[in-house]
Symmetry: C2
DNA sequence: CCTCAGACAGACCAGTTGGTCTGTAGTTCC
DNA sequence: GGAACTACAGACCAACTGGTCTGTCTGAGG
């Protein structure tokens, strides 16, 4: 057989290529032609699967980025009894986001958020949902921690979860700004210190 | 006698217009024509004062953004004896960054940082310096606080200052993502809680 | 006054970009 | 096995974008 057709695979290839281009250059900086070149496809394929560049952006946000966040954080935060340990474990994995030899591009979700949230209501809506979901699973873990005694009773789980997400994104963002992995290590040390203050008083 | 010429003023007008456009659309999203329209000037003026779009971006970063950070934070952090109170005061002023009726665009420095740091070494270099300066004045304030008893001895001033900047940018970033000023209020509450942990143990 | 360099206006250009359109080869269904 | 539909290839286009260039007016210095 010649090259067997596989529309689902083609669409997935386009999404993956688009994700990488958006991750590196931002949504506005992403060029349709570059996505096509990376995917090894042509305009025909692109506009067969996606209505527009904007539609592709939405799809990347929903399917790739949303899927990743959902998988890593939703699964990660239900591990074990101790929410702080679960957080630390998931954050551990973030250290490997940097691709050797390439500039550190930060967090895909936050990148799109900071670029597009004020510019495009469609992006903003989905971004907000993704953050809320992310914060939600952490908040729930904190609430469970308050039950099993790993987290101090006095804190507001959702408020603290929001701040934790903000702090994580801040640390990643500073690392991206400095382009130095050491920045993340140093920031993360302080973040761990803060997380320690969430434990019950001895 | 007619419209008196004033090259310095013209340049400043261009910088201000460019700052606004970059603030709203990002550097890549900023269009030279839009800057000109906002400034009420033409191509001739632009390329007389600036070599390129990139050169304008550098100038905005150095002069407008760097100038603002330097003024607000360097001056703010030497006020009074208590660094935490000084921080709270400067953060208070940030609540007014939102322009009524317009989408909330976050922090100009962080916007450019997240967009351009991995893409352009010239931007990255200056961004890093601005962050380091910002972190520096906070770290120095913490160190003074350790002397005068307002800050706990055990902390690493520079490490904590870095985390504080990260946390602030994280809170602003989440607010931008949600496009809801209430997000900043809630995040900021937790940030204040964290800052409280930096005080000496009673 | 009279240069002459500086400070712009504004027409113009070449390359880029998102998007369209026609053609054609697989696929499926009967 | 032949419609009919799907999944692309790839040429093409109009709009946009950063940047250039020439001309003109201003104002400072001689």
């Amino acid at each position: 057989m010649t090259t067997t057709r596989n529309p689902d695979q083609t669409r997935a290839t386009l999404l993956d290529a688009a994700f990488e281009e958006i991750f590196e250059h931002g949504f506005q900086g992403m060029r349709v032609d570059d996505v096509l070149a990376r995917a090894g496809l042509k305009k025909g394929a692109f506009y067969h699967h996606f209505e527009s560049k904007q539609a592709l952006g939405y799809a990347v946000l929903n399917e790739i980025i949303g899927g990743f966040i959902g998988k890593r954080w939703t699964e990660g935060m239900v591990q074990g009894e101790d929410p702080i340990q679960a957080l630390e474990d998931v954050i551990d994995k973030m250290e490997s986001y940097a691709k050797p030899g390439k500039p550190f591009c930060g967090c895909p979700l936050n990148n799109v958020a900071q670029e597009m949230a004020p510019l495009d209501a469609g992006f903003q809506e989905r971004i907000e949902q993704l953050f809320e979901g992310w914060i939600g699973v952490i908040a729930e873990a904190f609430a469970r921690g308050q039950e099993n005694g790993t987290i101090r009773k006095g804190i507001d789980p959702h408020g603290v979860a929001m701040f934790v997400v903000a702090a994580i994104e801040g640390c990643v963002g500073l690392t991206k700004a400095s382009q130095d992995p050491g920045t993340f290590t140093r920031c993360r040390e302080q973040l761990s210190g803060y997380l320690g203050t969430l434990r019950p008083n001895p």
